[in-house]
């Protein structure tokens, strides 16, 4: 799975998944994508595979605050954030909180928002969780005053 952001180049997602499916590791995939992209210094990208192999990149031209955090089971990336606390807040909440994966991730995202989040506030959010046989959760909030709360509401509706 891949997150491609900052001056987003969607090709990182599409082509990146193809490279992973061919058996390249996340690091090999990332290196290939960066090599072929003249705008690489504007990109922020995270890649993780089912073997928990991780690769992350933040270009020199990605706007502050930006950051990365990596753990055994997660990667956090962000840019144009309100402060340097946002990324560690997300990582700490993910490590601290319990429950199923979707809930842990959404709580982590909310912690990021509460510690400042986007410099100008959030407008959209999304959550996708896949299992071995199917897409378990796919929720999008495209435009909302409190998109993470809306994501939580939609997740809770699914579980009634």
């Amino acid at each position: 799975m891949i997150a491609t952001q900052a001056y987003t180049n969607v090709a990182y997602g599409i082509k990146g998944l193809e490279l992973l499916a061919k058996g390249l590791s996340p690091k090999e995939t990332l290196n290939r994508l960066l090599m072929e992209d003249l705008g690489r210094e504007l990109r922020q990208v995270a890649i993780m595979d089912s073997k928990k192999r991780e690769a992350v990149f933040t270009g020199a031209g990605v706007p502050e605050w930006h950051g990365e955090a990596m753990g055994e089971n997660y990667i956090v990336i962000g840019n144009l954030l309100a402060g340097k606390n946002v990324i560690p807040s997300i990582a700490e909440e993910f490590e601290r909180t319990g429950g199923d994966l979707a809930w842990m991730m959404i709580k982590a995202l909310k912690a990021g928002s509460e510690s400042g989040g986007d410099q100008r506030g959030e407008k959209s959010a999304a959550l996708i969780v896949v299992g071995t046989e199917k897409v378990e959760v796919k929720i999008k909030v495209d435009e909302h005053k409190a998109p993470i709360n809306e994501l939580i509401r939609k997740l809770e509706i699914r579980r009634r």
Binding site: Q5, T8, D142, E143
Partner: protein
């Protein structure tokens, strides 16, 4: 390519038993779910 004047933060995570993996993302721009997260099923990775 989309110009970014708004921020984005994302978490990619996998369950300890590797049976679930996911991306959660929030952004100051609209419809972040259409751009940032890219997923395939666990079987194909």
């Amino acid at each position: 390519m989309k110009k970014s004047r708004t921020g984005t933060f994302s978490i990619l995570a996998i369950s300890p038993d590797s049976k679930l993996m996911g991306v959660a993302v929030a952004s100051g721009s609209t419809s972040v779910g259409d751009r940032v997260p890219h997923m395939q099923s666990l079987e194909s990775v």
